[in-house]
Amino acid sequence: MRRVGLWLTLFVLLAACGGGGGGSQTSGTPKHGGTATVALESELRTLDPMDSSLLVEREVFYNIYDSLFTIDPSLTIKSGLVKQWDTSDPLNYKFTLQSGVKYQDGTPFNGASVKANIERYKTGATSRRKSDLASVKTVEVTDDTHVIFHLSKPNATLLATLVDRAGMMLSIDAVTKGGKDFSLTPVGAGSGPFAFVEWKRNDHLTLKKNPDYWKAGLPYLDGVTYRAIPDVNAILAALKTGDVDIARVIAPKDVASLKADSNFIYKDTPAIGFSGFELNAGAPPFNDPAKRQAVAMAIDRYSILKNINFNIGVVAYGPIPPSSWAFDASEKIFDHADPAKAKATATGFSFTFKTTSDPVNQQLAQLLQSELAAAGITMQIQTEEFATYQQECAAHKFEACGVNWSGRIDPDGNMYAWWHTGGDFNDSMYSNAQVDAWLEDARTSADQAKRKQDYISAQKQIVQDAPYVFTNFGVSAQISNTKIHGFTLYPDLMIRMAEVWKG
């Protein structure tokens, strides 16, 4: 008992120190067998990577399907179904594939399968992967284990894109057999550690071990069950009653008590997404840069981190998270709240902040309101139901709007769509020719050092211009009972179950 207490204390201390760069928790020899139940914070819509757009879907996919590339906990690109790669020619990427890999339905994974999958993603009527793969012109199959991706323009982010859904390989046989209902019952479609068994929407999704998984000895578990529990308090209750073993999120207010409970494990590492709010640079009052800067100066990020997030996560100074290779630790343009400086920059104006009725969002809005009041800025809170708020923010019908981003592995995914002129997520209507040039250069340049410099320059300019006020980076966490071992924390929030075992 004392020993358990000591280990727990160590855990809490480690977690309190910020967690570091992920890594796995190993204690003892991995055991085979058993099943684990994982809570998902919302129900899935599809099991087909082609039409997926939800984080929870990606999480399940990573356990059924294999991607061409993978990442390690430091976000470095690693080999997946692609064993070796040569990207020295920016328009022709040469990939060597793993040999002997079979999909769960027994059909082989090979060059032809890669080509068929990429073409399906590029041309499928309901495909949401078209923009991911826009730079890929064609895939040429040299032989069973070699393919060449011909690009229409250089794209330094392609390998990172192929880690995610656009790079997930499916048995085309299984897709054809599944027909119209394939997205609901993808039997035998993946080559990953677990195979689809049954999906009873709003109740459970069951996967079983893939006995022929190409990574020898894996997975350890006989199966994984997912349960959608769309309420963080209910997730905590389900953890405590033992109905689920693992969860990705609980309410920040409950983290301290869970850490103190010896029946549970809580560890976290900074994630790749950012939190904050958009200011609409295309309309008054925030078409005046001074007013945007005044807001960015007046808010207290440390108070938000402490009072809203219960110190879970870290303060954000820009869109590139500490886990990224492009992170710039020296950039702290807007740090501690400075109401006096804000007042000197712009004061005496008022604006409306759009948010949802979620209690945490409401508390955040009230905190922002009081902080801005100290700088003579009046903020009105407008609470809207999610679908309404989402549409109005996307349609630029707002002055300020709280929107967070789940994050992408490559910094391009955290910046280009948001602040490039006319970008898909540029709700703030921000436009700066120099920023556009940096972002484009970083997207096409093969030299990582040069890319990093581009992102650092672009980030400085964006933060300074304040079309978005960054408040904090969230965390990727292991939240489980103590029976769960071999859990590796990845900053991309995905829970990969292949190496997890139950003791």
Binding site: R45, S53, T126, S131, A234, K240, D243, A387, T388, Q391
Partner: protein, 314 residues
């Protein structure tokens, strides 16, 4: 009798039409775009246009409605906008869960309400009567989501007597099924218990004052026989009305309870579909709810005739 039932069923059609037109207008008038919900962080102008075209949302509203009606008439309920699941199977898959919860809640409310209401009426002014009245006032006043949260906290999280959420079909494991349905049924049924008990009590008091009760007593029938055989059957007529409305309202009542208990029923489906602007599913659920309400009313009218032979529909 058959003509009466047929006439009633035919009359349901215009009502269903008006309900669906109303709901169609309401949900389309409310802001929000299903394409944005579907696409989430993958939204781009091209993708949004693609989704609009896939779903026919680029057509005028009346055309969208007519397309939907045409499909329904041909037995095609369409597919969910957000999940691509066929609407008919989305509803029929969840219906057993909702029915089990609804029936369990109704049984809970009747098993408690009728005996308690009868005792309260017979022993008017007694401690039992006052206690029952007090409990019912509390039962009606406390919202069912709050009762649900308290039950979860006390009996599931703390005492661990009942599991939290999750649904086990009755046909699969009856005992486990009852364990799972207990808490949501109590949460959902408590307000009904209170109402049913009040109705039983007041109706029973009224019936007990009738001449025929005095006659029955005078003829030497025992008090127990008078109350349970002579009085209760007649006293239950208003209760049947209210229970009928409760049956029709199972889907409506389950909306909140199913959300609190993550119960995979039609109520939760309705809530999620409304939040996701899943027009086809909302329309389907509303149609089912409207018909179940109307059917329940018809059933009530037929049960009247059984309870009181003087009521005839011939």
């Amino acid at each position: 009798m058959t003509t009466y039932v047929l006439r009633r069923v035919v009359l349901m059609l215009p009502v269903a039409f008006l309900v669906t037109v109303g709901v169609f207008m309401l949900i389309h008038l409310s802001p929000g775009d299903p394409a944005l919900i579907v696409l989430g962080e993958d939204r781009s102008p091209q993708a949004i246009a693609q989704v609009h075209a896939e779903l026919g949302l680029d057509k005028p509203l009346y055309a969208q409605y007519l397309i939907w009606v045409n499909r329904i008439v041909h037995g095609d309920w369409g597919r969910s906008i957000t999940t691509d699941e066929p609407v008919a199977s989305a509803i029929t898959e969840r219906l057993p869960a909702t029915l089990e919860l609804g029936i369990a809640a109704l049984l809970w409310s009747l098993l408690v309400a009728i005996p308690l209401g009868t005792i309260a009426a017979v022993r008017r002014g007694s401690v039992v009567d006052r206690l029952a009245t007090g409990i019912t006032v509390a039962g009606v006043s406390v919202p069912n989501f709050f009762i649900g949260i308290v039950l979860i906290f006390v009996l599931s999280v703390s005492a661990r007597i009942f599991p939290f959420g999750g649904y086990v079909p009755f046909t699969q494991d009856p005992l486990e099924s009852l364990r799972h349905v207990a808490l949501p049924a109590i949460a959902l049924g408590t307000a009904g218990t209170a109402i049913n008990m009040r109705f039983t009590r007041s109706s029973m008091i009224e019936v007990l004052n009738n001449d025929y009760i005095r006659t029955a007593r005078a003829k030497g029938a025992s008090w127990r026989r008078v109350v349970f055989i002579h009085a209760l059957k007649n006293a239950l007529i208003p209760v049947v009305t209210i229970v009928g409305l409760q049956i029709g309202g199972i889907i409506e009542g389950a909306v909140v309870t199913e959300t609190v208990f993550t119960w995979p029923g039609v109520g939760r489906l309705a809530v999620e579909s409304i939040f996701n602007r899943d027009y086809t599913v909302v329309q389907g659920v509303v149609l089912v709810a409207a018909f179940s309400y109307m059917l329940a009313n018809l059933l009530v009218d037929l049960v009247y005739g059984w309870l009181d032979p003087r009521i005839s529909y011939a």
